[in-house]
Symmetry: C2
Subunit: 212 residues, 2 copies
């Protein structure tokens, strides 16, 4: 599996292919052409062929792709056959929404701890986890293998908390604060900017339904 | 302003430019080169020049971009000088997180109503809005100009609710359910798939810190 050669642009599209192939599997569909995938996904058929060629020729002329093997292979490339232990920092609405999002667990992202500093929240159960005080995070990370910290804390506290978990050896940060993280450690950061997607929606609305 | 010719790939990067330029403005920085922007944003300088050339030549050789005029122009293209009235459907954790997200309002997305069907939640105040029963949505949309519905409802109910608000004439849907929406109306849909971003993080972690 020549995953080293796959560009990040392709990688970013893989979760989407993975989702669509999952739908097809659930519908009992065994094979699919790049043209059918194209119609369903709104990506051009040639882009799809190009993307999927990156990791071996699953498609056969006149037959299409085998849905199940393509689904499995993309899952392997994405590493969802592995488990990532995750902690959530900040048990506000966003932190709770993430803790309750069943899809993550199914894809190998297991929430094993939730932290906050608000006394009203500490000790409260979210799913089956008691919210812990942020002061306990050092011990927790030292005693548990933590791969990813999901940061749902206020804007101004994000940098300090990211720094703290990175020092503890957590290698993946999933950041929901509006601030892009830059920290001087060898960690992987993915920033989620919800308003970017909303602004694209606003742009498309203006373009299609122009207003005065 | 030749916004018609800008490709969707460029449009999707504009919110990010807009955020960075906002940081620079807050720092009191008046001009910036494509090289500096490149270092800060992790986009190649040539990509930046190409993107920003799409809507007129703000950059000058040896001078760089005027931060304020670039910020304003990108904001205009994105339409953030306009206001969008938004409603949230589903006042669970995700709906509440969105209602409390101050950044949206600052970018022209005003939450004017929140709906749910859970009696424990109806009447409760989220920010300054009382949660209304979903049965009241028809009247509400008829009496208020609603541009965008943010859908934070369970997977299985999403399609029916999207259909309902689209029939009422709401033209923009921002969908947080894991299901991509396809509805037979002339509406704009943006789907947010949080797990896609998490899966990319997982991929990068595996690649940089391979495990057994």
């Amino acid at each position: 599996m020549a995953s080293k050669k796959i560009s990040m642009a392709v990688i970013k599209r893989l979760p989407r292919y993975h989702r669509y192939l999952n739908y097809l599997l659930e519908l009992g569909i065994k094979r699919v052409s790049s043209k059918e995938l194209s119609t369903r996904m709104g990506i051009t058929a040639s882009q799809i062929r190009q993307d999927l060629n990156c990791f071996g020729g699953f498609g056969q002329q006149g037959y299409g792709y085998n849905v199940e093997s393509l689904y499995t292979e993309i899952g392997n490339i994405l590493g969802i056959n592995k488990t990532f232990n995750c902690i959530i920092i900040g048990a506000g609405n966003m932190g709770q929404a993430l803790a309750n999002y069943a899809n993550f667990e199914r894809r190998g992202f297991r929430i094993i701890g939730v932290f906050d500093i608000n006394p009203d929240v500490i000790g409260k159960k979210i799913k089956n986890l008691e919210v812990m005080h942020l002061d306990d995070i050092d011990n927790f990370v030292l005693n548990n293998k933590v791969d990813i910290a999901m940061l749902c804390v206020p804007y101004k506290e994000t940098a300090a908390i990211a720094d703290r978990v990175a020092r503890l050896g957590v290698k993946g940060l999933w950041n929901f604060s509006p601030m892009d993280l830059k920290i001087p450690y060898d960690v992987i950061v993915e920033n989620v900017h919800l308003s970017d997607s909303l602004m694209v929606l606003g742009y498309k609305l203006n373009e299609r339904f122009p207003r005065e």
